[in-house]
């Protein structure tokens, strides 16, 4: 088991290195840099800019060095927790995104739980009542959630919440808690505001999840051992839960890594519509103003989160399923 985990962690290294190279190339691709857009902005405002100052800043931040040297600096910096410097905020990147990343993780976590709570019962029902009206109806509902663009559902829910509950839903916490240290009150306030983004992001993921629960469970239910159990008089519910359900759980855990990017994607766009203090809005802003270290470190962290998610799901799978553990192979 230990060797398996060790191997899996070793596998992560090339993936992360490749990811960092990809991300760095992406943020280096746009012509110009932050200082150029900064100068343009100042000029547009009618101010004069001393070219020496710009030259100094470029020097200071190492923009005169060759690209591979900057990549190396950035990548090795991240290893020790230094994510670079945000020009726009004039703060280290980790200070800008720390809180926001935390909120993103919270939203993501609850969304996944929500997706499971919805998709599981529906998937089981659909599989045991294949081709019934209930099956069609529920599957259709799930598909509808997939088809309605996230941002629009967010808008409509925001409107309804305003209309019927009178809560302002912009943001993730009440204004009074902003910049306050973590406390119980803050936590509760976050929970109060959390349900809209969670529902909105969750609905788009449930359809796919329902489909997969249903397909996997159906595969299991067709196997002879289920018939045997039934013939021997095992109660229907127990016969469902004891083996077929547990078998279909496997894919489910394997899926954790797969749904993370989707959920984070959904979270980003919903965050922009609802003006949540998660990572979405800041990323767009950073991209638009060439605040490259902020944008790059962001993408990198999101990628890192996913890789960790995959790792956790693989380890959980290995614990649950001895076949995978003994093979020592990578699941999925």
């Amino acid at each position: 088991m230990i060797t398996y985990i060790f191997k899996r962690i070793l596998y992560m290294i090339p993936t992360l290195v490749l990811t960092s190279i990809l991300v760095f190339t992406l943020i280096e691709l746009p012509p110009g840099d932050y200082f150029e857009s900064y100068v343009n902005e100042l000029r547009a405002a009618g101010e004069t800019v001393d070219p020496k100052l710009i030259e100094y800043l470029r020097n200071e931040y190492g923009f005169d060095k060759p690209i591979w040297e900057r990549y190396f600096q950035w990548a090795t910096g991240m290893l020790v927790g230094d994510f670079g410097y945000s020009f726009e905020y004039e703060l280290p990147v980790s200070d800008v995104i720390g809180d926001r990343l935390f909120f993103t993780i919270i939203v993501t976590f609850f969304t996944i739980i929500f997706t499971w709570l919805i998709a599981f019962p529906i998937g089981i029902y659909s599989a045991t009542h294949q081709y019934s009206w209930g099956d069609y109806g529920l599957t259709f509902l799930g598909l509808l959630g997939l088809a309605i663009p996230n941002f629009l559902l967010a808008l409509i829910l925001m409107f309804l919440a305003n209309e019927f509950f009178g809560t302002s839903v912009g943001g993730l916490i009440d204004p009074e808690y902003i910049d306050q240290p973590l406390s119980w009150g803050k936590f509760v306030s976050v929970l109060e505001h959390l349900w809209i983004p969670v529902i909105v992001i969750g609905t788009s993921g449930t359809a796919a999840m329902i489909r997969r629960v249903r397909a996997n469970l159906l595969d299991e239910l067709r196997k002879p051992y289920v018939t045997t159990a039934r013939a021997k008089g095992m109660p229907e519910f127990r016969g469902l839960m004891k083996y077929p359900f547990r078998m279909s759980l496997n894919f489910f855990i394997a899926d954790i890594g797969g749904i993370l990017p989707t959920v984070i994607s959904g979270a980003e766009i919903v965050a922009i519509v609802l003006s949540l203090e998660t990572t979405g809005p800041i990323l767009i802003q950073a991209l638009q103003s060439h605040d490259m270290y902020l944008a790059g470190s962001f993408l990198m962290l999101l990628g890192f989160l996913t890789v960790i998610g995959v790792l956790i799901s693989d380890i959980a799978l290995a614990i649950l399923d001895p076949r995978i553990r003994l093979q020592g192979g990578v699941s999925r």
Partner: protein, 382 residues
């Protein structure tokens, strides 16, 4: 000793045991394409979705004819007018489809224009008539419309937007970008998926290892932030057409991993089949085996799974345009139209501005059902 076996002298007829009726023979001898079609036909919802999609794509071809107004026709006197109701009877008398003209007034308290139907002014709806002149595909001059109405006395069946454009016409024109962007994007991701997945399956070894890591990396980055980054690096001075193709490439670049993975694993499993061994023993080259024997074997599967990714791309374009990234006005797509609906007040005061979402939902549903049907039919022997 003589042979005690019974020997029948009659000529051997292999079909004597089981005589096939002409219908059965048709089934057994049907080519794969025919079988797929038969199986697909049984999935009623998928067929209906296919027909719906065909109609929608026909609409993108004849948008100029179907839309009552040309794409930039506007009447600034009728800004944010609510949809006209279509009536058939006026004071108990049947006069065919018509709408009541609006009386305009200003609500100074809320600072909005108010449009009230005037029961005396009737605008009859005409069909297949000459109306707003346009250039079909920018080439042929014409003025035929499915339904026409004068822009000076406008008929807004789906209301008008903040500039006095007819929403119905804009939605019809918007389909051109929204519907084609998914197709082009899928073509790109399809090509990438087959090439990279094929290389990995063909060469194996370190090529496979690199390809797999690459797939893992692209999959581990959340789609939307990746799209945003790619869109943000596009120079701002690109023309609409360049941006359009850039976006399709971006959508395709992010999406190919699933297909590549499917191609690779299919190649690996099919390589062990007996017919491949037979082909190899007969001296066929690996290239020929892959191109002629393996890829056609799972092409139908690939097409089916590609169909299912089209809606993701359509939703992706919508989301990007909604955020004001990617394509921008004056281009017209459903996402760009929805950009007007970014404000919560829109939902409350002018709900018709979010109507472009309805075709988005219908198209995504239709593609899902259609893709499901295709996937079931892709393996007609199962």
């Amino acid at each position: 000793m003589s042979n005690s076996h019974y020997v029948n002298d009659k000529p051997f007829d292999p079909k004597s045991v089981e005589v096939l009726t002409p219908e059965q023979e048709a089934i057994y001898l049907a080519p794969q394409r025919q079988l797929i079609w038969w199986k697909f036909k049984r999935h009623k919802l998928a067929v209906a979705s296919g027909i719906f999609l065909a109609i929608m794509y026909l609409m993108t071809i004849f948008a100029e004819f179907i839309a009552p107004y040309s794409v930039d026709a506007k009447n600034t006197d009728y800004v944010l007018a609510q949809p006209h109701d279509v009536h058939f009877f006026h004071e108990g008398e049947f006069i065919g489809p018509f709408v009541y003209d609006y009386d305009k007034s200003l609500d100074l308290e809320n600072m909005v224009r108010v449009y009230t139907p005037n029961k005396d002014k009737i605008i009859k709806l005409e069909f297949f008539c000459s109306g707003h002149p346009y250039k079909f595909w920018g080439l042929i001059e014409a003025d035929n419309h499915l339904m026409c109405a004068d822009i000076d006395q406008p008929v807004f069946l789906l209301g008008s937007d903040t500039l006095g454009h007819d929403m119905l016409s804009r939605i019809v024109y918007g389909a051109r970008i929204s519907l084609t962007i998914g197709l082009v994007g899928v073509t790109i991701s399809f090509a990438l998926g087959i090439i990279i997945g094929g290389l990995a399956g063909y060469y194996g070894g370190w090529v496979d290892l690199v390809a797999q890591r690459l797939i893992e990396v692209v999959q581990s980055l959340p789609t939307l932030p990746l799209w945003l980054t790619l869109v943000a690096i596009m120079p701002a001075n690109w023309s609409q057409i360049t941006v359009y193709f850039a976006i399709t490439i971006i959508l395709g670049l992010v999406d190919w991993t699933g297909l590549a993975r499917a191609v690779r694993s299919k190649l690996f499993s099919l390589r062990e089949e007996d017919y491949v061994l037979a082909a190899r023993l007969m001296g066929a080259s690996t290239k020929r085996i892959i191109g002629l024997h393996l890829i056609p074997g799972f092409m139908s599967h690939l097409i089916a799974s590609a169909t299912i990714t089209i809606p993701t791309m359509i939703l992706g374009e919508t989301a990007l345009s909604f955020l004001g990234l990617g394509l921008r006005a004056p281009a017209v797509s459903w996402g760009i139209l929805l950009e007007n609906a970014r404000d919560i007040n829109v939902v409350a005061l002018t709900p018709w501005l979010i109507y472009p979402v309805i075709p988005v939902i219908l198209i995504v549903l239709a593609f899902n059902f259609f893709g499901d049907g295709l996937r079931d039919a892709a393996d007609p022997y199962g």
